[in-house]
């Protein structure tokens, strides 16, 4: 339960921290950029709703954003595709979030930083030293580990990704694993995991907040930074260390096609009449019933769309090991013993578990029950 007093005392404590930026604040910078106080409060209100807090918290969210410049951020790139950084760059509400982007004092981020080579290495070392115990560490990508640790080296001293992320973790105020790769290992950790890639939580003993998704939406990235500012303690997490405010519901729970699921109206093949009418995508492989994320509420790219709106099922990208557990992505989990167009059953090779006897809807409902009870038991 949200504790109003806790936030208030957290804000008081933050105000006492030495400012990195004494001449500037978000409201001042907004003014320069032509935004009014009212615009700012509107944005804070939206963020409040987004974090699932009561409206009375809006002034506090605003206050937290004003204090956000006191939060240095170090962002490391491990074994990854840079999609999470790209997602961060899509951060919405123009100018305001790019301000937040400047504003968190991004000390190290290879995709955007101006320095290279020795100068870049120096920036990282300086930041870890100068902001010891104060910075937020955000890590993108799986981490090659064990005897494959050297499959990633960075810098003129060729430090391994494992060494760098371990060291940066030791001195961090909080640690966020951004994306499915750093949260759960991701694509490179999928069978047979040739580089022995591991999640960040295997590298450090400290608590890692997982922000999975391939990539996570820009809102889930920015929202988590704000969450850290509001609460001195870590946000409430689920069994996979995902913040509940973002990952508390299944995709299926708020899906715009849910009515068709309940009515038994399914797309049978892509492009058919059901597809034109927006029927449920379960039979063409949607993993929405098994996937915890807020896509169906928040969507992507400033609410432009999300996979189910574009007629493709969810692939389950915020779940651990989804690459191995959820495929084939265009077949329902229920019919893993599927008849393929090749006539022999592709999963006679790839999958020895057959549960084709269950009816489609029955499985989806059963999966709901299993997931729900599992969550309860593990909490």
């Amino acid at each position: 339960m949200v504790d109003y007093n806790q936030i208030e005392s957290r804000l008081v404590a933050l105000e006492k921290l030495p400012s990195l930026n004494s001449n500037s604040s978000i409201p001042k910078a907004l003014e320069k950029a032509g935004f009014s106080r009212r615009d700012f409060m509107k944005w804070a209100g939206a963020m409040t709703a987004f974090l699932a807090l009561p409206a009375s918290f809006t002034p506090m969210v605003a206050k937290a954003a004003e204090l956000a410049d006191r939060l240095p951020v170090i962002w490391l790139h491990m074994a990854e595709c840079t999609g999470c950084s790209e997602s961060l760059l899509r951060s919405d509400t123009p100018t305001i979030d790019s301000l937040i982007f400047d504003y968190i004092s991004l000390e190290y981020h290879e995709t955007v930083m101006a320095a290279a080579g020795w100068q870049a290495e120096e920036n990282l070392e300086n930041a870890i030293e100068k902001y010891k115990g104060q910075y937020v560490l955000m890590v993108e990508g799986g981490i090659p580990c064990g005897d494959k640790e050297h499959y990633l080296t960075i810098g003129p001293h060729a430090k391994t990704g494992y060494e760098l992320s371990k060291k940066a973790s030791e001195n961090a105020y909080a640690i966020l694993a951004i994306g499915t790769c750093s949260s759960f290992g991701g694509i490179q950790a999928a069978r047979p995991n040739p580089s022995n890639a591991q999640p960040l939580s295997k590298v450090t003993d400290k608590t890692v907040i997982n922000v999975p998704g391939c990539p996570p939406s820009e809102k889930n990235i920015v929202g988590n930074v704000l969450q850290l500012l509001l609460f001195k303690e870590l946000p409430a997490l689920d069994v996979y260390n995902r913040p509940k405010w973002a990952y508390g519901l299944r995709i299926h729970d708020l899906c715009e096609r849910r009515g068709h699921f309940d009515a038994g109206e399914f797309v049978q093949s892509f492009g058919d009449e059901g597809a034109k009418n927006g029927y449920c995508l379960y039979k063409v492989g949607c993993k929405g019933p098994y996937t915890f994320n807020n896509c169906s509420r928040e969507r992507f790219n400033q609410h432009t769309s999300w996979p189910i709106q574009a007629g493709h099922g969810c692939i389950g990208c915020s779940e651990p090991n989804f690459w191995d557990n959820m495929g084939p992505f265009e077949e329902p989990l229920a019919s893993h013993k599927f008849d393929t167009v090749f006539g022999l059953g592709a999963d006679s090779v790839s999958d020895k578990i057959g549960i084709g006897v269950l009816t489609l809807t029955g499985v989806a409902i059963a999966a709901h029950a299993v997931i729900a009870s599992m969550k309860k038991n593990e909490e």
């Binding site: 899509r90 955007v112 299993v370």
Partner: protein, 575 residues
């Protein structure tokens, strides 16, 4: 006495890249080596999977060119199985691709490459009024460069600099002697740098309209596209068109004029001229605009000779690994590619650091293996790919979509055609490519609208053409042009699952290490002979490397780790 300079990490790129050069007493580069220091192994991971999953997995090769490998993975399977998507699907893919090209190119120019050309701190001393007048020299309708606007941008920069903590802009090569823009010109670029942060969100929305999200769209499927509701919704179509036009305006009135401005300013800067790198140019047909109409054509130019353009012969492509961290060295066609990792590591050595001191470092074993990137070759020769290759080949072929735009650029900058073969040229041709895409892609939109009136099919059934099967196996490939150059994916499908997969990607061609003959790729070749003004700030090196828009996660690919029994993979239904 020669000394070594290491740049690692090369920042403002995708992925992990290291460059080492050896300079002589005059600081002239005598030897150059480029290598990637990360291996992920996605092609290995794809094996044994359902062919329809391959596109989703290859997509994760890169989140920057976030549509290219998705489309390539889907098309390679379609090609193998003989599945032909309907025209509506092909044109929708073109529209998504156009959004990707514009996104990649504008973000590359301003956010990734811009700081190599523009010294933003210098903009603090600019006169905003003069800068506003300056902008009119390059376009009659300048973008976000009114005096008031520029004053506001300058004040915003001042606040940032005054606070003494430059964050991501700290420790750069400000004040470097090879910067050529005036304070006023720098201020114009800075204003567009900030505008571009907004514009890139809009063009990403264009992709998301048909693609669900960006990065990593999710609406392609083997046989077509899934976004049928969006295509049949006129307001959705209008949304794409109007957002696209807003970005088109930015390309024509900010990006292109800035490029002409930079072209003129750098026309006398030796470190960005006359460095063609590899002078064999390779490009492939892309952007289907109508039933039988394409924006760019395929072709090959050998040894910089523009008088003859050769047709592409796919059988002449091979990859080898003499200096790459893999076991098998011999050149193999991608259908038969082998890639068993064999990491031999970096070795102890020394180099010059950012204080000018000689210090212990880890260095490439240049006699042995030194990169995760393999060496693709065409007829045994390295090739340069990318916007430069694409525009020059199409210019030489007389492609009417291209010729006029190139001629106009040369006229406006006063540069000779030869000047295109350079770092400046690579950066300029990327802009021209963006301009050509921006001003032509809506032809695909118009044709899509026309076609939807008579045909609403968006997806062909997933039914293999069994006549394509040979010895129980299907073979297929995607080949095309993506923002960084020529991309190909090659697959074999057997027993209903992926038997083998190889991606030969643009950055692999350009960033290739040396081959068995000691010949390096274009990154390495273009650095030879470069004079470094200040070994403590090797700006010239990163400017040259950035001109290729490196995408290294793409380049680091792999294969067949022997001995993995892929058939044992199980699906865990219980999560």
């Amino acid at each position: 006495m020669s000394q070594k300079i290491i740049v690692d990490p090369i920042t403002r790129i995708e992925g992990h890249l290291r460059v080492e050069v050896v300079v002589d007493d005059d600081n002239i580069v005598k030897e150059a080596y480029a290598g990637s220091t990360l291996w992920r192994g996605i092609e290995t991971i794809v094996k044994g999977r359902d062919p329809r999953d391959a596109g989703f997995m290859t997509q994760r090769i890169c989140g920057v060119c976030t549509f290219s490998h998705y489309k390539a993975g889907i098309v390679a399977v379609e090609n193998a199985l003989g599945i032909i998507p309907p025209l509506n699907a092909l044109l929708t893919r073109t529209l998504m691709n156009a959004a990707l090209f514009l996104h990649d190119h504008i973000v590359h120019f301003y956010q990734l490459h811009g700081l190599d050309w523009a010294d933003v701190v210098s903009a603090l001393s600019a006169d905003p009024k003069k800068a506003s007048d300056e902008a009119f020299k390059y376009t009659s309708n300048p973008y976000a460069t009114g005096a008031d606007k520029l004053l506001e941008v300058q004040q915003r920069l001042k606040i940032f600099v005054d606070k003494g903590n430059l964050g991501p802009f700290a420790n750069a090569y400000y004040g470097h002697p090879t910067y050529r823009l005036t304070p006023e010109e720098n201020l114009i670029v800075l204003s567009h740098y900030l505008e571009c942060l907004r514009i890139q969100r809009i063009i990403a929305q264009c992709m998301a309209i048909f693609g669900a999200k960006n990065p990593h769209p999710q609406s392609l499927t083997v046989g077509g596209v899934t976004c049928v509701m969006d295509l049949l919704n006129p307001s959705r179509m209008g949304e794409y068109m109007s957002k696209f036009q807003e970005v088109q305006d930015f390309v024509n009135h900010a990006y292109y004029p800035d490029l002409v401005m930079a072209g003129k300013a750098y026309a006398n800067e030796a470190s960005v001229l006359n460095d063609i790198g590899v002078n064999n140019l390779f490009t492939f047909q892309e952007f289907q605009l109508g039933k039988n109409e394409w924006l760019f054509e395929s072709g090959i130019i050998k040894n910089g000779d523009l008088s003859k353009v050769y047709e592409v012969d796919e059988n002449k492509i091979t990859e080898e690994a003499t200096h790459s961290w893999y076991v098998d060295n011999e050149p193999l066609h991608p259908y038969d590619g082998k890639t068993n990792p064999n990491y031999t590591g970096l070795i102890d050595g020394d180099s010059i650091d950012h204080h000018g001191n000689k210090v212990n470092s880890k260095v490439f074993d240049t006699k042995g293996k030194y990169s995760w990137i393999k060496a693709p070759r065409y007829e045994g020769n390295p090739m340069q790919v990318g916007p430069l290759a694409n525009i020059v080949v199409n210019y030489a072929k007389g492609n009417k979509n291209v010729v006029g735009v190139v001629d106009e650029f040369l006229k406006e900058t006063g540069l000779p055609l030869d000047a295109v073969f350079s770092t400046l040229g690579r950066t300029a041709m990327r802009c021209l490519e963006a301009k050509i895409v921006a001003n032509n892609a809506l032809r695909a939109f118009d044709n899509l609208v026309e076609n939807l009136k008579v045909d609403q099919t968006t997806c062909a059934p997933y039914t293999p053409d069994t006549s394509k099967m040979v010895n129980g196996e299907y073979r297929g490939r995607y080949m095309g042009h993506v923002p960084r150059g020529t991309l190909s994916h090659w697959c074999r499908i057997k027993n209903g699952v992926i038997e083998n997969w190889q991606a030969v990607v643009p950055s692999t061609w350009n960033a290739s290490p040396k081959d068995a003959n000691g010949i390096g790729g274009s990154y390495e070749q273009c650095l030879i002979g470069l004079k470094i003004a200040d070994v403590k700030q090797p700006l010239e090196i990163i400017r040259k490397i950035h001109s290729y828009d490196p995408c290294i996660a793409c380049a680091v690919h792999v294969m067949d780790t022997k001995g993995n029994n892929l058939s044992e993979y199980k699906v865990n239904i219980n999560l």
